[in-house]
């Protein structure tokens, strides 16, 4: 996936892959060769530690150390100020393998797939455009990842997607396949640049209706998920509590409220009201709602189940007919006409 572009002469490429090299082998490279090298391939060797001599390749921009048995990357790697791409897949790296100041590298592409990470290494997230990683359980994101364009998390044990993942405005390719994900948070519709979303081989039964607002989404993989095929007729509906009824009235009548009038926990409660998607209904709901599945053709797929939340059983989904009907229409009247056409034709 990471091809290197821009090497103007072959002297700047040094291919030392598949040579049975050990940790001391880099010492034999001449000083001139070290200064000239911009791309260095050390894959398929027998290195257990990335040696300090790597820092002598002072003009290095691309380093591939995949398929060794590396468990340590030395601190000296941080002296490679021009390094933009680091490929270290299929090694034995974990969070403790990376040097403390690894984050000071101005990396754009980092591939750590096929290693032994159980946590996201937080010290590597600045300025990244592409991050590929497998074998970890925790996710950690903050403003430092805002440049990320590609995030590959396939083949991990992820059971839920944190809503913080939505804070990635440049993300165009998100790979979450081969995990244990049961639902996609609706906040993912904030990934405005998303072009391709890989969700195959998870535990999804439906998708959130909000996915329709990802206007640039062209690829969506969903095979190997137990997606529902038929509208589920018995939806249990718990009638709203007194608190909810009061909250609904306050919101729908636009009654002003503030911390001066109400205890703060009630102000917070009122602030999280969700709007009913039925355009004919101005209602809101809090915890009590009806879940309704709509089938929509989207992204080359036929009849994807999208989940709507409606404020009551009397409310109808933004569509024609009878929500009890088995033969759900494929139309969704709240989606703009030109987007609808694109959706249906894939």
């Amino acid at each position: 996936m990471e091809g290197y572009e821009g090497a103007s002469s072959s002297e700047s490429v040094l291919d030392l892959s598949r040579l049975n090299l050990n940790n001391n082998s880099l010492d034999t490279v001449s000083e001139k060769r070290r200064k000239d090298t911009k791309q260095l391939y050390l894959c398929y060797n027998r290195m257990t530690v990335l040696p300090e001599s790597i820092s002598l390749f002072s003009n290095l921009e691309f380093l591939d150390i995949s398929n060794n048995t590396l468990s340590v990357i030395c601190e000296d790697i941080t002296r490679l100020t021009k390094l933009k791409t680091l490929i270290a897949k299929n090694n034995r790296l974990n969070v403790f393998s990376l040097p403390k100041h690894f984050g000071s590298l101005q990396l754009e592409v980092l591939n750590l797939s096929g290693n032994r990470f159980e946590e996201m290494p937080s010290q590597c997230l600045q300025l990244l455009q592409k991050l590929l990683i497998s074998s970890f359980f925790l996710l950690f994101f903050d403003e430092q990842t805002s440049h990320l364009e590609l995030l590959y998390l396939g083949g991990n044990q992820i059971s839920s997607i944190p809503a913080e993942l939505a804070n990635l405005p440049c993300l165009s390719y998100l790979v979450l396949c081969d995990n244990r994900i049961q639902s996609v948070p609706p906040q993912l519709n904030r990934l405005h640049s998303l072009r391709s979303l890989s969700l195959h081989n998870n535990l999804l039964t439906y998708l959130p209706r909000e996915i329709l607002s990802l206007v640039h989404l062209q690829e969506l993989s969903l095979r190997g998920n137990p997606l529902v095929v038929r509208f589920i007729k018995d939806m249990t509906y718990d009638p709203p509590s007194l608190l909810e009824l009061a909250g609904r009235t306050v919101k729908s009548k636009n009654l002003p409220y503030s911390h001066k009038d109400l205890p703060s926990h009630l102000v917070n409660y009122l602030d999280i009201a969700s709007k009913c998607p039925n355009p004919k209904c101005a209602g809101v709901y809090f915890d009590s709602c009806v879940r309704h599945i709509k089938f929509v053709d989207f992204c080359g797929k036929y009849r994807l189940p999208l989940m709507h939340y409606l404020c009551s059983p009397e409310c109808t989904s933004p569509c024609s007919s009878n929500p009890q009907s088995d033969a759900d229409s494929d139309e969704d009247n709240s989606v703009p006409a030109d987007r609808l056409q694109r959706v249906l034709l894939g």
């Binding site: 299929n90 391709s196 195959h200 690829e219 036929y302």
Partner: protein, 215 residues
């Protein structure tokens, strides 16, 4: 019927084909394929054996192997004098195809690099509920060549690796531009137009790029 040949049966077939030598290079393979497809009838075992016997050399096909970050690509190599299309498909990590048919054509699939998982399906039966059930699966290794046509069923092809890309060589005879993709959950199908990411080593960006893959 649907299998890749092991080396001993391939060797036996080779000995019978005194006219056709094992191709050393990709150029040789293409020349041999042109000869084999001169007549209108196709000897499937012979073609499969010849394709399998070419040992993949990346420097020979690298110029056709153009990857896309988001999905697999189809890169035309040779038009076989109108008798067949020979193309190279490049699969990034996790990339997979829809379940599809082959529009009454022969389809040969040889691995040049990496591995691909092939899942076979029967044609959907309207009376069956619960979607399309897979019939069998196999993992194709480097240099193996598989074969399928519509009478044998439908298939889905996937690169299931999260760390390695895959490259495959496909031969379709006669050539076809559209095929049907199937929704596994319902058996519903769509016709899709097939496009090339590159032709003869040159990128062709003005063909349709919107994905129609049901995967």
């Amino acid at each position: 019927m649907h299998k890749s040949l092991n080396s001993s049966s391939a060797a036996a077939l080779e000995m019978e084909q005194t006219e056709v030598m094992k191709p050393d290079t990709l150029e040789d393979l293409i020349k041999t394929l042109h000869k084999l497809f001169e007549s209108d009838s196709v000897n499937v075992e012979e073609v499969q054996s010849i394709m399998e016997s070419y040992e993949s050399k990346p420097h020979e096909w690298m110029k056709y192997a153009k990857f896309d970050q988001y999905r697999y690509t189809r890169n035309l190599v040779n038009e076989g004098n109108g008798k067949f299309n020979l193309m190279i498909l490049c699969w990034g990590e996790g990339h997979g195809s829809s379940i599809h048919d082959h529009t009454d054509s022969h389809c040969f699939l040889k691995l040049l690099q990496g591995q691909l998982k092939e899942t076979l399906f029967d044609w959907p039966d309207r009376t069956l509920q619960g979607g399309m059930l897979q019939r069998s699966q196999q993992v194709l290794l480097e240099n193996q060549c598989a074969y399928i046509n519509d009478s044998l069923g439908l298939h889905r092809v996937e690169n299931v690796s999260h760390t390695e890309t895959a490259v495959s060589l496909h031969l379709y005879s006669p050539p076809f531009q559209t095929c049907r993709t199937f929704d596994q959950r319902t058996g519903h199908h769509n016709s899709v137009k097939m496009t090339f990411w590159s032709k003869f080593g040159e990128r062709t960006p003005y063909e349709s790029t919107v994905s129609q893959e049901n995967n």
